[in-house]
């Protein structure tokens, strides 16, 4: 077990890939077995990640576990195989490992063919997401970031709806366009810094003229903003969400979008603090537009899934607004809102999928009176709807409240106006969600022969209830005691914002794991599973 003790993150990240390739090799006829194996594997990975991570909860925001070893030097630029879990990505990693098996279980019967290949791609996607979340070297991050596209492309393109090919291509090319230009910026900075270590690159960036820093920040920001997606770069999202199979939508909303926000807080903001401060205002403006625009567009949707997709644009606008506020409370709110959105919107997509599997339609007009036919389903949908609206005592409230608070305190010239406008987004959120809820669930039962309600013959079964229960527990837990989920990120976020706002000359704080081994190229797996707490605390106090 020594190898495992030294490389827990490598195991977590690549175990899904190994399993995925095994599943791909299984013959077509064993699709059901592959689905089962895929689920069990993903579940095992979740249990393992839970045991490992919670065993070392980052009380002080330090590194939970880290691995670092020189990987290769190509064209004069060293690349470190550096992975770490710390306060910033702790809960996002758990969210990922949690959502993957949950989604597999939730969409157990949604696919009719090629289940094995789908499960395999899903596991490959998990590798991409986890790898991008824990990567502490920008080259490694870039690899995982791009590699994520491939399984998602096939998931949308093969198992999606009628317009799946268009949606898959749009998703792929849109994301690629951002990341390719980002690659040039990355190369430019790596050339100056002599490597891909974020800390060293940040130092190199601070020596550049402000104009260049600004361009580099824009290149980073656009790549991440496409993923978020931030208005006006969101147009791929409704297509991808609506066409993707349920599992794809859940994971797209639940994790992939988060990586955009995570990219900002992990790389773009700490690496270019001046430029980030400079561009915070336009980003905040775009976020406010996204919040209001997303909500307004969601309101007029006739397809429930499309409504949820646009609500994502609105909710992720909150995340970006919180990050752009450059305040601790706003950023913490954004961190929480990312988890909230992952849970709530993921759950909404799951629920819409459950409805679609029964009724074979997602049009709001096709329903009516679903509450009569599916009381359990309605209950769950109600809870998730309320959480999505941000009702106090559910998770949605805390995140949005903090973000609005942060925006209010941000000190932007128009900060208070932004906060007011964003608050109207909360209101609009209630309007479109409840209005949709009313039309679908309340009212007299839609007796029309062709209607969706007519085709609903069964309420949720035990499997589906088992999927929804943990989500409901989390919704309440996060609403009542959010501290559990933001304690980890508090210290790094505070340190980061102090650095960002500090007058020059700055010292760079990224993560302890990265900082402490700058340029060190010996000892494979420098920090093992049990990272000592002392250096972590030292770094934070710097």
């Amino acid at each position: 077990m020594t190898w495992l003790n030294l490389h827990p993150l490598t195991f977590l990240v690549f175990a899904p890939t190994v399993l995925g390739f095994l599943l791909m090799a299984l013959p077509h006829a064993l699709g059901k077995l592959a689905r089962l194996l895929g689920f069990l594997g993903a579940l095992a990975i979740f249990v393992l990640s839970l045991a490992w991570l919670l065993g070392h909860a980052p009380a002080a925001g330090g590194t939970v576990m880290a691995e670092r070893t020189p990987w290769f030097t190509l064209v004069g630029l060293p690349v470190d195989y550096a992975l770490a879990v710390d306060g910033l990505n702790f809960w996002l990693v758990l969210l990922t490992t949690f959502l993957v098996p949950l989604t597999m279980l939730g969409t157990w019967n949604s696919l009719k063919d090629r289940m094995g290949t789908f499960a395999a791609l899903f596991l490959l996607l998990e590798t991409g997401m986890l790898g991008a979340l824990v990567a502490q070297d920008l080259f490694v991050f870039y690899l995982f970031w791009e590699a994520m596209l491939i399984p998602m492309y096939f998931m949308i393109g093969v198992w999606g709806g009628d317009e799946r090919r268009y949606a898959a291509n749009k998703f792929f090319l849109y994301t690629l366009s951002g990341s390719l230009l980002w690659l040039v910026a990355l190369l430019y900075l790596a050339n100056k810094a002599g490597g891909f270590n974020p800390a060293v690159m940040a130092q190199a960036a601070s020596a550049l003229p402000f104009g260049v820093q600004g361009w580099l920040f824009i290149a980073f920001a656009v790549a991440f903003a496409i993923k978020v997606p931030l208005f006006p770069l969101h147009t791929w999202l409704p297509d991808a969400h609506v066409q993707a199979p349920t599992a794809g939508s859940v994971i797209l909303a639940g994790v992939l979008l988060k990586l955009g926000g995570y990219g900002f807080i992990r790389f773009a903001i700490p690496m270019f603090p001046q430029a980030a401060m400079h561009y915070a205002k336009p980003i905040a403006l775009l976020s406010v537009i996204a919040i209001v625009y997303g909500a307004l567009v969601a309101m007029v949707q006739r397809d429930i899934k499309k409504l949820v997709a646009y609500s994502s644009v609105s909710h992720m606008g909150f995340v970006m607004l919180g990050l752009a506020s450059m305040t601790v409370i706003g950023t913490q709110g954004a961190m929480l809102q990312m988890l909230n959105h992952g849970i709530s919107t993921g759950a909404l997509f799951l629920l819409v999928g459950m409805l679609y599997d029964r009724a074979h339609t997602r049009m709001i007009a096709d329903f009516g009176g679903v509450a009569v036919k599916m009381p359990i389903f309605t209950t769950f949908f109600m809870i998730v709807t309320l959480s999505s609206i941000g009702l106090p005592l559910t998770n949605g409230f805390v995140g949005e409240f903090w973000i609005l608070n942060g925006t209010f305190l941000s000190g932007f010239p128009w900060g208070r106006l932004y906060a007011a406008l964003a608050t109207s987004g909360v209101l609009l959120g209630a309007v479109y969600m409840l209005w949709m809820f009313m039309r679908v669930f309340w009212g007299p039962e839609n007796k029309d022969e062709d209607s969706g309600t007519h085709h609903l013959h069964s309420d949720l079964n035990a499997r589906e209830i088992a999927v929804m229960l943990p989500i409901v527990v989390l919704i309440v837990w996060m609403g009542v005691h959010p501290k559990t989920f933001v304690a980890a990120s508090e210290t790094p976020v505070t340190a980061l914002l102090q650095e960002v706002k500090a007058p020059a000359p700055r010292t760079f704080v990224l993560t302890p794991a990265v900082h402490e081994v700058t340029g060190a190229h010996e000892a494979a797996g420098a920090a093992g599973a049990h990272a000592p707490e002392a250096p972590a605390a030292h770094e934070v106090n710097q």
Partner: protein
């Protein structure tokens, strides 16, 4: 003058394919060659053995290191790299040919003999700085390829493509010859390195005739790598040729032309400073044109082979960008790119054979749904196409990465941005291939035709495809071994650019 044993050893990789070619020609005298199974087996076996032996001797030479030059032949690491490169390409071609020519119903020994001669010519071309030997090498691989493009005489379009290729190729060869003659006339020597130093001493570096000579020679190279505006032959020739031959041309011709260009321009003419700089700016302009035109034209192709032809044009553009950067690391990147490109393109053309598409049948329509029917081939196709588009973590990404990194490092940020935009465009048409394979169900008509035909069996082509896919994957995961251990050593110990 007698040869020392080590010189014989250095010559063996060239001599073995010649022997092999003669043997195959002798075997193909039998008029039943196509139907008699053992003759067919013996011909292909001989060809494969010749290429394999050549490969084996080359790896042996690689272990000993660069050989001193003799007969104007530099059997250095760069030449050994070229030999290994061409031998692998030829071996994959022979494997694919077995199935393809069987499918076409046109099994002839001469194709193998011609292929072996082309191999010799290519190695010769890339291992000399003497103009006459260079020209000999050029013609020794060009003439067999003209014939190979038109080898399936039963199909008139094949002959037409071969003729077109020959006519345009002849013009390019003449220009190349004229360029060499001008350099010779001014310097009095055929050795290009010596000519460069003589011209420098005479203060003729910016003489218009020297510039014209160098430009004409550059034209010859650019024609072979199918750079815009010397690319028009490419789609017609690829479309006309048998799939494996198209693959071989797209890979080996382009590869050796780039390597020879490396030896002549930054290499021999390196001392002719201003000429090199002028040629570099010409390359920059043409690289941009090649990238833009190649990629945009590839977008609208419905024929897979024409798409691959324009794709191969656009890849010439990326490789030319490596020359624009002009650093040793960029040249290492070019060689690494070529290794991966070899596998990606041989694989892509091999897929057509593995799927049993012959003659006219190479549109995207014909590919529909095949990825699911042949999962291993489908998986390989995904590897090739995503790698061609430069998506990490596959080998093609690292090739582009190395070249773009050097472009940015030498201050050509604009060209790097253009390069990534070009690969964004290219992602679209490579995805089309995958869309057809995986995202579209076969049309009812195709289903009906498929049920009438016997199932496609192309085991050797399939094996070649799998080997190619393995190389592309290796390029993504042990990229440093390939780049540092293979490409970089060929540059440092062959060209001496890093010393």
């Amino acid at each position: 003058m007698s040869l020392t044993p080590s010189q014989w050893a250095a010559l063996l990789p060239l001599l073995i394919p010649v022997f092999g070619a003669c043997l195959v020609t002798l075997m193909s005298i039998d008029k039943d060659q196509a139907t008699t199974k053992w003759i067919r087996g013996a011909m292909y076996g001989t060809a494969l053995l010749a290429v394999g032996a050549s490969f084996w001797y080359l790896t042996d030479l690689w272990r000993t290191g660069s050989q001193p030059a003799f007969f104007q032949l530099h059997m250095d690491r760069l030449a050994q790299f070229t030999g290994i490169f061409v031998a692998v390409a030829a071996a994959l071609t022979i494997l694919q040919s077995w199935d393809h020519f069987h499918q076409e119903g046109w099994v002839k020994g001469e194709t193998l003999a011609l292929l072996l001669f082309a191999v010799v010519g290519m190695v010769l071309f890339a291992s000399t700085t003497h103009f006459v030997v260079l020209f000999l090498g050029l013609e020794l691989f060009s003439l067999p390829l003209y014939a190979l493009v038109g080898t399936v005489r039963a199909r008139s379009e094949s002959a037409e493509g071969g003729m077109k290729y020959f006519l345009t190729g002849a013009v390019a060869s003449s220009c190349f010859l004229m360029g060499g003659v001008l350099i010779y006339g001014l310097s009095g020597t055929f050795d290009l390195a010596a000519a460069a130093s003589i011209l420098t001493v005479q203060g003729l570096t910016l003489d218009p005739l020297v510039l014209v000579g160098a430009a004409l020679m550059l034209l010859g190279f650019l024609f072979k790598v199918s750079a815009v505006p010397f690319h028009q032959w490419t789609p017609d020739a690829y479309e006309a040729s048998p799939h494996p031959i198209a693959g071989f041309m797209s890979v080996a011709t382009k590869g050796v032309a780039f390597i020879a260009l490396l030896r002549v321009f930054p290499g021999s003419f390196g001392s002719l400073g201003p000429v090199g700089a002028k040629m570099q700016s010409v390359m920059a302009v043409l690289a941009v044109a090649t990238l833009v035109l190649g990629n945009l034209t590839a977008l609208v192709q419905s024929n897979v082979k024409r798409m691959l032809a324009y794709s191969s044009i656009s890849h010439a553009g990326y490789l030319m960008l490596g020359f624009v950067a002009g650093t040793p690391a960029a040249y290492t990147g070019v060689l690494f790119y070529l290794v991966i490109y070899l596998a990606m393109n041989m694989g892509a053309f091999g897929l057509l054979t593995a799927f049993g598409l012959v003659g006219e049948q190479t549109t995207f329509e014909d590919l529909r749904g095949l990825g699911w029917k042949r999962p291993a081939m489908g998986f390989s196709a995904a590897v090739f196409m995503l790698s061609l588009a430069g998506i990490p973590p596959l080998g093609g990404f690292y090739g582009k990465y190395m070249i773009f990194r050097e472009l940015v490092g030498t201050g050509h940020v604009g060209l790097a941005i253009l390069g990534v935009l070009a690969s964004l465009v290219s992602a679209y048409y490579y995805l089309r291939f995958l869309v057809a394979l995986f995202l579209q169900a076969p049309s009812a008509e195709a289903e009906r035709l498929a049920s009438d035909r016997p199932a496609v069996r192309a085991p050797l082509a399939g094996a070649a495809v799998l080997v190619s896919a393995a190389i592309v994957l290796a390029g993504g995961f042990i990229q440093y071994a390939l780049a540092d251990g293979f490409a970089k050593r060929a540059i440092t110990e062959g060209l001496g650019l890093l010393r």
